[in-house]
């Protein structure tokens, strides 16, 4: 009995294919079939934001997204964010400002923040809090996350003007 179907999508800019059970979520396919365990899960019910990835540039909860629905779409995960050996400014700022403690919510928050900065390069603190309000974090108290995103936004703006 065949239980799997073929899936083709773009992950972090590269074509990816997998043979997956049709009921699997994007989260499961990323972690179990494509070996990209950087994307985490905290509830698998769409409550915590740990599994956030970008689908066609929009932050989405991969635990609520059926993998087959991503056929032909563009998925970005934490593994694709760094620029070669150098960290993306968001990654560097999260590490330097203490925006990541246990690190478990970190990939989801960083991807959510990337979507925010892609669309709004100069967010206010309130806009940052609003954008990340769906990402639960039990360690940091959010303040350092907000500070990190603010700092990364400034660095990204500087890169553009250079």
């Amino acid at each position: 009995m065949r239980r799997s179907v073929q899936l083709a999508l773009t992950v972090n800019g590269e074509p990816a294919e997998a043979s997956v059970a049709p009921y699997k979520t994007l989260l499961e396919v990323l972690r179990e079939d494509l070996g990209l365990t950087g994307t985490k899960h905290g509830c698998e019910l769409g409550e915590c934001g740990a599994c956030a990835v970008l689908i066609d540039g929009e932050p989405q909860l991969s635990c609520l997204t059926l993998a087959l629905g991503c056929e032909g779409r563009r998925v970005e995960t934490i593994e694709g964010l760094a620029r070669g050996p150098s960290l993306h400014p968001l990654q560097a700022a999260f590490a330097d400002f203490g925006g990541s403690q246990c690190g478990y919510c970190t990939p989801g928050v960083i991807m959510t923040a990337k979507a925010l900065l892609d669309r709004n390069p100069s967010p206010t603190r309130d806009q940052i809090r609003e954008a990340t309000a769906g990402n639960l974090c039990r360690c940091t108290g959010y303040q350092q996350i907000t500070e990190a995103i603010e700092d990364a936004a400034a660095r990204l703006r500087n890169e553009k003007t250079l």
């Binding site: 899960h41 019910l45 409550e47 968001l90 990654q91 203490g98 403690q101 246990c102 478990y104 970190t106």
Partner: protein, 814 residues
């Protein structure tokens, strides 16, 4: 005496400077491997069948259909686990899978191991369990009233698990002689850790056929011991690897049924077996904050001097012992550390109920009485017309003093914390001056820098570190400490780098692996910085001594004049010459052979000599003072907290970025507890089952603060290095959570004049209080608890010797 590590240091290269934590890069790139990120070839998956009843006899478990289901490799039941476990030797009362009794909704009864999770879930449905339902005990009052049926066949009596009483000096007399006596009853609802990572474990047999388990545990050493016990195999045949925890907060301290299940399955099948708990299951595993009802009677003079306290606590333990015996002590023992009580009495009782077991959560047993103590002080200040800060300053304990219960308080920056936090918050201009609807509240706290005794009695060190020096110049630090997000790996790396004068990038830490690293008891009781840190410094000092003895002659100086700094080794009075650290290592290795040293640490012995004196002592106590500003809408009861100020006596901040993160994270968790977090239960209608079920075994219903709810937090550190701690650094992981709840309650009173004497403080309670005659919401009665006759001990200032005394001896002295 200078703190460990400070003898040779005039200035620091690393300590005290904010920097990126050593595991920071792996965390922001998604490279760090948590337990559920691990996979092995031929890996199978386990799922647990959990009880739908809060209290029932398991009469039969029929597994045949599940065993025959395609894709199923193994079905386990309680019959496969004849040996119980329990983290504390005095309450070994739990089986990996329930045998003849289930004690809460969610108690695991059977396990299926299958080719994938989906198959395991399908097979679980084919297991038939025949239960004979027993009446459940839903709270401690019910447990006291109804001793039968007993939830456990051990404990003090009926459904009382632990029951104890201690009296330090004649408290009845102290209260009778007091000019004023304040009596309050408070309730603190239970809440849970809610770590972002759900527990996961992967067990397999290594190349030699030995069992290895990688697991999200805070305490690999205790898990190691319990696995050997339950599986009946030698500890030397088991290796426990604590994977980086995606948050712990105490929730991953107890061994979990799932860890035994995958280990047993791997042993039986010879294949890797993994389990990942669902979020709902994490709520069932729980081990969180005990709901505590408590009565606090405090004597005070008219000019605001505390004369004594009588504290009675009643803990809702849930279905198992867990850390309960310790939790019971902690609802009392740290209460007299912040303020001087000439006499102190505390009685505590933990009752079994048919709910998930309670255990250690950040602050372990102490936030509950601390909440009442700090709210009551606010009431006393109000009554006396004193500034709450002045009342506290008049009563703070002194550095190098003793409590009535014989705890030795070393360094103590509480007064400085109060002055600092009232200054930075502009307290005098805020308290009682912000106008109707806005208020400011103050509260203080303390916490241990590590518990003075291990969970099981032994005379061995609490932490061990081995440092290996590679001829590349790399420094490899081995320690059983566990990284749960708090930054223990970074602390170890920073201390080793500072002591050996190398760049932090030259250090690699290997931690939390019972197969490789020396024993460290675990990441609990805020013990790692102090205990593993001191062990690391001892190992580093020994290496320095080895190297210095070899290179001193070349440097033209004496060994104790050799300085290690910034990757160089040179004479103290001639920093221009010298050699690189790598050259020094080469010289030493050429003469001495492979370079390695070990260090270990055991805390000082307790002063108290009475039975039970082992709970409470610590090498050092941190202190904290906090001011919360609150706005309360009197039409809706809605509470808004715009800002929080906090000052923490940390001794020394080793990495200020980490330390600040711990403080703000603690404030966050405390504010969540204050305003919304509650692990509460409801009883299903009798026609359904009458069962006690979670109100909220999900993250949507279990409310916690989001980025939008979190106010700005302003942090100050009081840095007065403690002589027992590495470079003087005390704890910071737990203390800063503790003053937040009472500070919120006090701010709400300042804003609208209502007293909410229970946690959480929700808008409906504020509204109710606003409309109540006494402007208060909180418990109004305390049940008759059959506390035992107290262990009576004379305080140090009444001629005591720290041993149990006869009460009439006290009368003779007084």
């Amino acid at each position: 005496m200078p703190p460990p590590g400070c003898e040779m240091k005039k200035r620091f290269d690393i300590v005290g400077k904010p920097r990126r934590r050593v595991d920071g890069r792996a965390k922001v790139t998604g490279q760090l491997r948590y337990a559920d990120d691990l996979a092995l070839p031929r890996m199978l998956f386990a799922k647990l069948l959990r009880s739908p009843h809060p209290h029932a006899v398991v009469e039969a478990v029929e597994t045949e259909r599940a065993r025959r289901y395609p894709g199923v490799h193994l079905v386990l039941t309680g019959q496969d686990f004849p040996v119980p476990f329990g983290i504390m030797p005095v309450s070994v009362d739990e089986y990996p899978l329930a045998r003849e009794r289930v004690r809460y909704v969610g108690d695991p009864v059977a396990a299926v191991v299958a080719v994938d999770e989906q198959t395991a879930v399908e097979a679980l449905r084919l297991i038939e369990v025949r239960y004979r339902v027993l009446p459940p005990v839903s709270n401690p009052e019910e447990g006291l009233q109804r001793p039968e049926p007993r939830i456990h066949d051990y404990g003090e009596q009926g459904n009382i698990h632990r029951n104890q009483s201690y009296e330090f000096g004649d408290v009845a007399e102290a209260l009778a002689k007091s000019e004023l006596v304040f009596e309050d009853i408070f309730f603190y609802e239970g809440n849970t850790h809610l770590p972002m990572e759900q527990q996961a474990s992967l067990a397999f047999l290594d190349g030699e056929g030995k069992l290895q388990i990688s697991s999200s545990t805070q305490n690999p050493h205790y898990l190691h011991r319990q696995l050997a016990r339950v599986l009946q195999i030698a500890e030397s045949q088991i290796r426990v690897v604590a994977t980086p925890n995606g948050g712990g907060f105490g929730g991953k301290c107890d061994p979990g049924g799932h860890e035994f299940v995958v280990s047993k399955a791997a042993l039986v099948l010879g294949r890797p077996v993994k389990i990942g708990l669902t979020r709902e299951e994490v709520f069932y595993v729980h081990r969180g904050r005990h709901p505590v009802l408590f009565r606090m009677k405090t004597g005070v003079t008219k000019d605001g001097r505390l004369t004594g306290m009588h504290l009675q606590t009643l803990l809702d333990g849930g279905g198992y012992g867990s850390h309960g015996p310790a939790s019971t002590f902690y609802t009392g023992v740290l209460t007299p550390v912040t303020y001087h009580y000439p006499r102190f009495k505390f009685e505590a009782c933990r009752v079994f109920t048919n709910k998930p077991a309670c255990g250690p959560k950040r602050g372990h047993g102490t936030p509950q009485p601390r909440f009442g103590q700090e709210v009551q002080l606010d009431k006393i200040a109000r009554h006396l017309g004193m500034d709450p800060a002045e009342l506290r300053l008049a009563n703070v304990t002194k550095p190098e003093s003793l409590t009535a219960s014989w705890l030795r308080i070393g360094s103590n920056g509480l007064a400085e914390c109060i002055r600092k936090v009232t200054g930075m918050s502009d307290w005098k201009e805020k308290h009682r001056k912000l106008g109707r609807g806005r208020g400011a509240g103050l509260a203080c706290s303390t916490y241990m820098s590590g518990a003075g005794v291990a969970i099981y009695w032994n005379k061995m060190p609490h932490s061990g570190v081995q440092i290996l020096l590679d001829r590349s110049g790399a420094v490899i630090v081995y320690c059983g400490a566990t990284e749960i997000g708090q930054g223990s790996d970074d602390v170890l790396a920073g201390l080793a780098a500072e002591a050996l004068g190398v760049d932090i990038g030259a250090v690699r830490v290997v931690t939390g692996d019972t197969g490789i690293t020396p024993v460290d008891l675990g990441s609990y009781s805020s013990r790692v910085t102090i205990m593993a840190g001191n062990a690391a410094l001892q190992a580093a000092e020994r290496l320095r001594a080895q190297i210095a003895a070899v290179v001193a002659e070349t440097l033209g100086t004496l060994p104790d004049r050799v300085v290690f700094s910034q990757g160089r080794v040179f004479a103290a009075d001639n920093s221009g010459t010298g050699m690189t650290f790598v050259e020094a290592v080469h010289a030493a290795e050429a003469q001495l052979g492979t370079l390695s040293a070990v260090g270990s640490y055991a805390p000082p012995r307790a002063l108290g000599k009475y039975k039970g004196a082992g709970v409470g002592p610590s090498p050092a106590y941190s202190f904290t003072a906090c001011v919360v500003e609150a706005e309360v809408d009197e039409r809706t009861g809605w509470i808004h907290v715009p800002k929080i100020w906090i000052a923490h006596d940390i001794g020394r901040a080793l990495n200020p970025t980490l330390a600040r993160g711990q403080v703000i994270g603690g404030v966050y968790m405390g504010l969540g507890e204050a305003l919304m977090e509650e692990q509460s239960f409801r009883r299903l209608p009798e026609k359904l089952s009458g069962a006690l079920v979670h109100r909220a075994p999900s993250m949507l219903d279990y409310k916690s603060l989001t980025a939008l709810d979190m106010p700005e937090v302003e942090v100050a550190f009081i840095e007065d290095p403690d002589p027992n701690c590495p470079y003087g650094a005390k704890e910071v992981g737990q203390g800063p959570l503790l003053p937040v709840m009472p500070a919120v309650a006090n701010a709400i009173f300042d804003a609208v004049g209502v007293r909410i004497d229970e946690i959480p403080i929700t808008p409906d309670k504020v509204l109710r209080a606003l409309h109540a005659q006494d402007k208060r919401v909180g418990p109004t009665s305390f049940p008759a608890v059959p506390y035992p006759a107290p262990t009576f001990v004379l305080p140090p200032w009444e001629g005591g010797d720290g041993k149990e005394a006869k009460r009439d001896a006290a009368a003779a002295v007084v």
